[in-house]
Amino acid sequence: MSEVRFTDQHEWVRIDGDTATIGITKYAAEQLGDVVYVELPEAGRKVGQGGEAAVVESVKAASEVYAPIGGEVTAANPALGEDPAKVNADPEGEGWFFKLKIANAGEVAKLMTKAQYDAFVKGL
């Protein structure tokens, strides 16, 4: 059973057991526009909750992507190197950024549910 949570920085995180898959939301992808480059963390890197983990660049600007939850990076999406446009095409699916091994499952509780995030975006 997987569970998806969201941050106010517009990242999503899918929890499967002790693995978290992280990406940016559809809203974030739309705001950024065409993604032309993604810098992803290497496997083995440890990131804390809210720490800078990746960078996403559109034609216009670069934006940081923060880790919604702390842990050790286990994989980065290899497809984004060749085809960063996947982030726009399928931000909450094939356009995922990286996976990590969750350090502290308790941190999930601080994140927004889908309903909370949708309401948050509506208020922007």
């Binding site: 526009g33 065409d34 032309v36 480059y37 660049e57 559109s58 034609v59």
Partner: protein
């Protein structure tokens, strides 16, 4: 984030049309301008290179310069050869301050049979520019600003074919020619020029005609509206300077690699602001030089990025940088110490604490396709 509700921002005559087209409005040079339309920067950019793009550049500063010999008078503030400009031609020039650094860059035109010259300066500098010009030309020429006029740019390989439909015969113009013409029944000043590296036109019309003319052009199947985002990536691919970024009052024409815009006669006569200093620099060289940069990898390096030599010593800074949709890769422009300014020189770009390898590269990054006379 951008505040589009800012009351101090001005609007061009096409503001309502931008909203109707779904333009994402941002503050730019004191105006609310569309940074992109729903199509997005990448596709807008490619559209302008493949077909024809319509740009609202009405925020730019249009004016007429009157006097017995306005061209001669204008040479007080620019090193361009204004006097030799033939009837029906447009030219690029630099506006210099007394210390010989760049106050602005601008276009000047001599319309056939008219004594007044027609000028277009940058949006963010227009008030100061025309105050300066009026002041320096006092007694010889007078400035009449026409910030109420609209200016449209139609750019791309199909621009000639498209504009000819609403302004028959206009496609006969060649690069840097300018005429008074009728565009979609509106009186216009049309030049075959632009700032994308593509063939194209700039169309100056009365503000009241702007929306109707824009709609007439947008109705043509080849034409799509293009925002500021793609305007910036197009001009950077074309190796063209953006005032306030690549050139400003801290740069002179020599280090900016814009000596070509100084007229031969002007170089001999040395009768422009700080001419001695600038001509000395032409012969002895400058400490730094504006160059093109191609990163080796895929990561873009943005404005402000430090440039280092291979030993990690900082040798310059990027003044414009991003991703080139037609180039399909990152590109940048910046200044480096002159010893590193040769094409092919290996440099590093300090992006997020990492040294990304790059090379000094010739510009334009994408070849110009101007309609030059045969």
């Amino acid at each position: 984030m951008t505040d589009t509700a800012n009351e101090n921002l001005q609007r061009t005559p096409l503001y309502a049309l931008h909203l109707e087209l779904g333009g994402k409005m941002v503050p730019f040079a004191g105006y609310e301008m569309p940074v992109q339309y729903p199509t997005g920067i990448l596709k807008e950019h490619l559209h302008a290179r493949e077909k024809a793009g319509l740009f609202d550049v009405s925020h730019m500063g249009q004016a007429f310069l009157a006097g017995d010999n306005p061209g001669k008078a204008l040479e007080r503030v620019t090193p361009a050869d204004v006097q030799s400009l033939k009837d029906g031609m447009q030219r690029y020039g630099l506006l210099l301050n007394d210390s010989g650094t760049i106050k602005d860059d601008f276009m000047f035109s001599r319309l056939a049979g008219e004594r007044d010259m027609y000028l277009v300066v940058n949006a963010g500098t227009k008030d100061g520019d025309y105050k300066y010009i009026a002041d320096r030309l006092k007694g010889a020429a007078t400035v009449t600003t026409r910030f109420d006029r609209a200016l449209l740019a139609l750019q791309g390989p199909m621009a000639g074919k498209v504009l000819d439909r609403v302004s028959p015969g206009i496609d006969k113009l060649t690069f840097m020619k300018v005429v008074r013409a009728t565009v979609a029944n509106a009186p216009a000043i049309v030049s075959r020029s632009g700032y994308t590296g593509e063939d194209g036109f700039e169309i100056s019309i009365e503000g009241k005609d702007a929306e109707r003319v824009a709609r007439a052009l947008l109705k043509e199947p080849e034409v799509a509206p293009i925002g500021l985002g793609a305007r910036d990536s197009l001009r950077l691919e074309a190796g063209l300077c953006l005032y306030g970024h690549d050139i400003d009052e801290t740069t002179d024409p020599v280090e900016a690699s814009l000596v070509w815009s100084i007229g031969k006669r002007r170089k001999m006569d040395k009768d422009f602001p700080a001419a001695e200093k600038i001509m000395d620099a032409v012969f002895t060289g400058t400490k730094r030089k504006r160059i093109g940069i191609l990163p080796v990898g895929k990561a873009p390096a943005r404005e402000g990025t430090e440039i280092a030599d291979k030993n990690g010593r900082v040798i310059g800074k990027i003044t414009s940088g991003g991703f080139g949709p037609s180039l399909n890769g990152p590109m940048a422009m910046g200044y480096v110490e002159t010893a590193f300014a040769n094409d092919g020189t290996e440099i590093d770009l300090m992006v997020r604490g990492k040294a990304l390898p790059a090379r000094v590269a010739p510009m334009p990054f994408v070849p110009h396709r101007y309609r030059r006379p045969v």
